[in-house]
Amino acid sequence: MSIQPDKPSGEVAKVSDPLPDPGLPAHTWRPTDVDEGLAKRAERQVAGFFAASAVFTVLFFVSYFVFKVGDDWDVTGGLGASTVALGLTLGLALLCIGVGIIQWARKLMTDQEIMEMRHPARSSDEDREASLAALNVGLEESGIARRPLIRNSLFGAIGVIALAPIVLLRDLGPTPSQVENEEEGLGLEHTIWKAGKRVVRDVVGTPIRAADLQIGDLVNAVPDGMFQLEGTELQVQKAKAAVIVVRMEPEEIVPGPGREDWSVEGIVCYSKICTHVGCPISLYERTTHHVLCPCHQSTFDLADSAKVVFGPAARELPQLPLSVDDEGFLVAQSDFTEPVGPSYWGRGQ
């Protein structure tokens, strides 16, 4: 095995045809080149910019100490003024340095363009030959071509060790099945909804009496007891157990097969988590019973098992089977019967 040098490929494009290159135009002098007075003036301008910059920097320090950030966040002299003053003074201080330097370059530094020859990106033939010779000697001396056993076993070893970082990253998180826990409502397939768990209003946590809901009402709701959770557990349940409860005329509801008894007097309950990529759906149009996800505009018909009527979502919102308890409050008949939120491999049909 030895590597051979290659021929250079291609000349440069010939552009000086049909007209010959007239050559670089003659340099023209600037006013500041020929008039010492103008040059002095430009010098003063540049120095003026630098001086102005220093003044702005001092004003920046003044603003830093004069304007208070703190309790007066929305009054003049508070945070707004501080940010505006600091931004303006810092910006102008920097701009003055920049403008000064560029003015200096344009007016006073030589504006005579100079020429430099290019060289092809490839190295010279001698260099190539020398490098290739060195490379070939090196390869030869290593015996990598003559001893394929060494080469192949090394590649094999490196291939195996490359898996180490992947294995090492295994503890980034548990697998979905390790998390799955029906009792505690954990994992992709479960939430803390359970048979008999009350449906309570979001934020305030009060139970919802079926009779209190008017036709056309939409209530954001969560399972009772969710707010006893804290930190991560709370966030996880918020991200999948949140529901919307809607009341409509009972005869408008087209119950899905097997869902005939999932509504209570025209009250239906669906997951609030969009089946597209998981945004909480929020915009309800009571005349059509359509609910729209504000992220990507998937639209679901709540009167018809929350089927997708528009947009990129592919499956309907999971429905929570409802009933009422002895006191007339809405409760769940069970957990959701299918996973909530975006589709994923492993959820099945």
């Binding site: 931004g87 290019r118 915009l283």
Partner: protein
Amino acid sequence: MAATPKKPAKVGAVANWADERLGLGGAMKKNLRKVFPDHWSFMLGEIALWSFVVLLLTGVFLTLWFDPSMAEIEYQGSFDPLRGVEMSRSMASTLNISFDVRGGLLMRQMHHWAASIFIASMMIHMMRVYFTGAFRKPRELNWVIGCLLLLLGTLEGFTGYSLPDDLLSGTGVRAADGFLKATPVVGSYMSFFLFGGEFPGDSIIPRLYTIHILLIPGLLLGLIAAHMLLLVYHKHTQWPGPGRTEENVVGFPMLPVYAAKAGGFFFIVFGATAVMGGLLTINPVWKFGPYDPTKVTAGSQPDWYMGWPDGLLRIIPGWESTIFGEPISWNIMIPILIVPPLMLVILMLLPFIEAWITGDKREHHLLERPRNAPTRTAVMVSLMTFYGLAWAAGGNDLIAIRLDLSINQITYFMRVAIFLGPALAFYITRRWCISLQRHDENKLLHGYETGVIMRSPEGGYSERHLPISENAAYTLTARDREQAWTPSQKVDENGVAAPGGRLDGIRSKLSTLMYADNVQKPTAAELEEAHHHAEHEHALTAALDGHSADGHQFDGHHAVEGENLRGDH
């Protein structure tokens, strides 16, 4: 001069000390007076570079106070409306930076503005490089590096704006979780590993933080260094013109002019960012509030550079199919997992595809005007149209509200436009370029339009044309004469045609199509004939000489020294 005789000796001593240890003399000899050609469009990449420096500086400031933790605390800072609200420490520390650290909000806003400028200037710089053909040999690899920089810059932006853990960014992270889960087979595992368990968990912000302040900036720094080194090694491209050839580079020396202009420009970019940070609110997280998985605001948009995949995500129909009883979410995979990576690959391959079609193996250091490469220009405009439509689709809700249109109809329109638009843009751009080429050819052969209308004795009207200057004519012709690639060009030393590859037919057809209808520069004979013709015509109107129409001598094609309006006589 202020320099006393002592000073140079001191400078010399320092230089000697450094050179005896670092051997900088050799490198400096080559580079101190290195020539950089001048053109406003060469400044676009500089904006990107300097805004990256601003990002590093402001970013370091922010890390001093930012706490990338998802532990819940009750906010007790200065911002009244959120006092007492439960939020993560990252959100609370973001509010702290904004309201309790002097200059903190300024630095946050500068950081965010600089990020926008960084990505925007990279994109515009990339278009400049493409439209002028600066990506051609030997600069293809630098083009690829540039594409990677754009990708990394976008990811850096996404990881950055997700850190405050506010409602808007949390919604974005939630969508990202949905994207991961849409990956066949391993989707839910990827999601659980990234989030450290079930969404949202308490790991995602610290992990994004490490990626944002260490991993991606490190890669960006390395790639930017490589980008600059290659730029220096290849020497900058230049526009053709008198004295500017493929073999030379004409411009200002690194020291002092270029260093001063580029260095001064750093302060201008920095200063402009500071003024923007001080005056223009960006990402007011205190208005969005902390992330809550049950809440969302209408009109949620990602930062603008993430808008185009989001737009595709909005207009795709709800396609999902089943394999082995498991869902395949085409409605997410196509707009997020397939098309954006595909677009990036197409972008990276553009130089290689063009070189393959043209069969051009020469080095190119002279830039081409976009009109002189109609197909190339049309390809980029077509891609830009795709990008623009997808981006507009990402704001379909805002368009619907502002223009009082139906969101459904906008979406249906976009589903068609995303295919038709780029095709239409390709056709229009190509023909437009060719028209401009014809205009250039007319100028070369028949001169420029003077605006002087003449009436012949027969009563016919014609416009008088005058020849353009020698330099202008040279600049117009200083380009390549194109030749479609044909398989028979492959001939070995003995004059025997090499056996054609299977793709040769397609290649030569593409090459022919690529140059079809392009106007080639005139040959010497054509120019000669045109001049002859012009002289003949001029003879007919010779009587007009000396009676130039007033004002027309100031048409920008002549030196005007000594010209007087006739009224002065």
